[in-house]
C-alpha cells in the first residue's frame, strides 16, 4: 500500500504542464532517434544530456525528458527493422527477422501496429515490475557496507563483459581503461594530483559527459565518414504501409507470446550487464523454441516473431532501470548514460535515493506510465510521420548530430579544451569500435571509478589496513561468487550465443542499448 501512495504522489509531480510537455517531447525525439539507423538510445540520450543541463532543468524534469527518449527509442527502433530490414538500433535487430518478411507480404502496417502494441505491453508491465522490485532491492542494498559496494561494482564490470562483447579480454580491457580515465584528477581523499601531467585543466578530472558524447555520438559520425554512407536508406516509393490495425485473431494469437516475452525481457534487463539487446534476443529465441521448434513459420513473417522481440526489448528497458535506481549500478549502456545525468545533478543513485529524493524516483516512474500511453498513440495511429524520418539522408543528419554535440558540451563548460577532449574521445571510440572493444564498460568505468575506489579505501581503512575485509561478510562473498560465475560462464558457453547475437548486427545499428 505504501508503494501505491508513493505512486500517487509521483503522479502529482509528473502531471505538471512542464513535465507532460517534456515527456511528450522526449517520446517524440526518442521515437525519431530510435527509427534512424545510426542514432540509438544511448547516443540519443547522450546528445540531449548537456542540453537538459544548460536549460537548467531540475533533476526530475531532466530525468523525465531523458527516460522518455530512452523508452521512445526502444519503440522507434522497430520501424526501420520492419520497413527496411535495417535495425534502427541494436535491440531492434531481432525484429528484422520476422518483421521484414511480414512487410514483404504487404503486411507492414499490421507488423508496425502489432509491434507497437507489443512494445507497450512490455514497457507497461516492466514499469510495474520496477515499482515492486526496486524497493525490495533497496532493502537488501541498505545492508551493504563499503566492502559490499566494492564487490557490487566489481560484479557489474565482470558480468557486463559477458554480454557486451564476444571477447572477455576486450571487455576487461575496456573496464580497466574506463576506471583508469576516472583516476585522472586530484585524489579526493589525500588531495594529491594523479595522472594530470601538470595540465591544470585535468585537475578536476575528465568530465564524463565529454567522454560519453565523444565516444557515443562523435564516433558514429566517423563511422559514417569511413563508409561514406551519405544516402538515405529509404525512398518514398519503397515504403508502403497498408492496413494499420492487426486483426483480432492476430492479437489473440500473440497475447501469450507477449506475456512470456515480457517476463523474460524484464528479467534479462534486471541482470547487471545485460540490456535490451539481450532481452529481445532471449525472448525471440525462447519463443521460437517453444512454438515453432522446426522453424516452419519463424523467419518467414510470423506475427509472434514480431511481438516477442519487441515485448522483450521494451520490458528489458524497464528492467534495466531497476539496478540503476536501486543500487546505482546500471545494467546497460543507456542506463549508464542516465546514471551520468544523476551524478552530474549531484544526486547519488542507490538505496538512499528512495528515502532522500522520493520525488525524483516516483515522479520518474509516474512519468514513465504517462510516456507509455503517449508512445502507444504516437506509434500506432501516427506511425506514418516517423516513417518519413527514414528519408532524411545521413549526409545531412550526421553534421547536425556533430554540431549539436559540440553545442551541448560548449554550453556546459564554455571551454574549447573540453571540445578537444571530446574529439579525442570520438576518434578513440572509432578505433575501439573497429577493434570490437565494447564502449559501455569504458563509460561505466569513468562513471563509477571514483566511487569504487572510495569504497575500497573506506572498507580497508575502517579495518585498519586489512585487505581481507573485502571478503569478510557472507553478503560480500555472495557478490564475489556471482561476479566470478558471471565472468566465467560466458567464457565457456557464451561465445556461441554471442556470436549468434552479433552475427545479425548491422554496421549501421547503434552500438548498444
Amino acid at each position: 500500500m505504501d508503494t501505491l501512495t508513493s505512486l500517487v504522489d509521483g503522479f502529482a509531480i509528473a502531471l505538471t504542464w512542464q513535465n507532460i510537455l517534456l515527456a511528450l517531447l522526449g517520446c517524440f525525439l526518442g521515437t525519431i532517434m530510435g527509427a534512424l539507423p545510426g542514432l540509438g538510445p544511448s547516443n540519443g540520450v547522450a546528445i540531449l544530456i548537456p542540453l537538459a543541463f544548460t536549460l537548467g532543468l531540475g533533476p526530475t524534469a531532466s530525468l523525465i525528458l531523458l527516460t522518455s527518449v530512452y523508452y521512445g527509442a526502444m519503440y522507434g527502433g522497430r520501424i526501420s527493422s520492419i520497413l527496411l530490414n535495417i535495425p534502427g538500433d541494436e535491440p531492434a535487430m531481432m525484429t528484422c527477422l520476422d518483421g521484414y518478411p511480414m512487410a514483404q507480404k504487404g503486411m507492414a502496417g499490421q507488423a508496425l501496429s502489432l509491434s507497437g502494441l507489443a512494445s507497450f505491453v512490455g514497457a507497461f508491465f516492466a514499469t510495474w515490475g520496477l515499482i515492486f522490485l526496486a524497493p525490495q532491492l533497496v532493502k537488501i542494498a541498505l545492508l551493504f557496507g563499503p566492502a559490499e559496494y566494492f564487490a557490487l561494482f566489481a560484479l557489474a564490470f565482470m558480468t557486463l563483459g559477458g554480454v557486451s562483447s564476444t571477447n572477455q579480454a576486450k571487455s576487461a580491457f575496456a573496464a580497466a581503461l574506463g576506471l583508469g580515465l576516472a583516476m585522472i584528477g586530484v585524489d579526493t581523499q589525500t588531495g594529491v594530483p594523479r595522472f594530470t601531467f601538470g595540465e591544470v585543466h585535468l585537475y578536476d578530472g575528465l568530465d564524463f559527459l565529454v567522454a560519453i558524447v565523444g565516444l557515443f555520438a562523435l564516433s558514429e559520425v566517423f563511422i559514417f565518414l569511413e563508409n561514406r554512407h551519405g544516402e538515405a536508406s529509404a525512398d518514398a516509393a519503397k515504403i508502403k504501409i497498408g492496413r494499420l490495425t492487426p486483426p483480432m485473431s492476430m492479437i489473440k494469437q500473440t497475447t501469450p507470446t507477449m506475456i512470456r516475452s515480457t517476463i523474460l525481457g524484464f528479467l534479462a534487463g534486471v541482470l547487471p550487464g545485460a540490456g535490451a539487446s539481450l532481452g529481445s534476443f532471449i525472448a525471440y529465441t525462447f519463443e521460437k523454441k517453444l512454438v515453432d521448434p522446426e522453424g516452419k513459420t519463424f523467419g518467414k513473417g510470423d506475427p509472434r516473431g514480431v511481438a516477442a522481440p519487441e515485448a522483450g526489448n521494451n520490458a528489458a528497458a524497464g528492467g534495466a532501470l531497476v539496478p540503476m535506481l536501486a543500487l546505482g549500478v546500471p545494467g546497460s549502456g543507456t542506463t549508464a548514460v542516465l546514471l551520468a545525468v544523476l551524478l552530474s545533478l549531484n544526486i547519488t543513485p542507490g538505496p538512499l535515493l528512495f528515502s532522500q529524493n522520493p520525488d525524483v524516483v516516483w515522479g520518474l516512474i509516474a512519468a514513465l506510465f504517462i510516456a507509455n500511453f503517449m508512445l502507444l498513440a504516437m506509434n500506432i495511429p501516427m506511425v506514418g510521420i516517423f516513417t518519413r524520418v527514414l528519408m532524411v539522408p545521413p549526409r545531412i543528419l550526421m553534421p547536425v548530430v556533430a554540431m549539436v554535440s559540440f553545442v551541448g558540451i560548449y554550453g556546459i563548460s564554455g571551454s574549447s579544451f573540453d571540445l578537444l577532449v571530446m574529439v579525442g574521445f570520438g576518434l578513440m571510440g572509432w578505433v575501439l569500435r573497429k577493434l570490437d572493444v565494447p564502449l559501455v564498460p569504458i563509460i561505466l568505468g569513468t562513471l563509477l571509478g571514483n566511487a569504487m575506489e572510495n569504497n575500497l579505501r573506506r572498507a580497508i581503512t575502517i579495518d585498519n589496513g586489512n585487505w581481507f575485509t573485502l571478503i569478510d561478510s557472507p553478503l560480500a562473498i555472495g557478490l564475489w561468487t556471482i561476479a566470478i560465475i558471471g565472468f566465467v560462464i560466458p567464457l565457456i558457453v557464451g561465445r556461441r550465443v554471442k556470436a549468434q547475437m552479433h552475427a545479425r548486427r548491422d554496421e549501421e545499428g547503434s552500438l548498444s542499448d
Binding site: L51, A169, Q189, V192, E226, M398, V404, G411, L419, G465
Partner: protein
Amino acid sequence: MTDRIFGVVGLLLAIGFALAALTINESFLSDAVGPKAFPLIIATILGLSSAVIALRPDESPQWPALGRLVEIFAAAVVMVLYAQLLPEVGFIIATFFASAYLTWRLGSGLVGSLLTGVGTSLGIYVVFHLVLGLSLARGPLGF
C-alpha cells in the same frame, strides 16, 4: 594481426599507467590504502587483458583504405579547428564551415553543402539560442 598490435599497445599503456601511478606524491596525511594502490590494480588488469588479447587474437577487422583514413583524420582536424576557432569567429560562422565540410565529405553537392551548412548553423542558433536561451560562442560580429 591487428589484435597483436593492439595488445602490445595496451601492454605499453598499462606499463606507462603503472609508472605514472608510482610517481604519485604521497601526502603525509594518507589513509591506509593511499592514492597509488587502486591505480596499480587497474594497471594490472589492463596489462593482463592486453596480454590475453595479444596472445589470443580475434580475426582482424576490415581496415578502410588509406583514402578513408585520411578522410577521418581530416574530419578530426576540422573538428579541432572548429573547437579552437569557435570563440574567435563566433558560433554561426564556425558552425557553417564545419557542417558544410562534413556534409560535403558525406556526399552532398556544392550547393547542397552550402545550404546544409547555412541551415544547420542558423537552425541550431534559432532553436538553441533564440528559443531555448542557451549561450553560444559569440564572435566579433556579435553572433
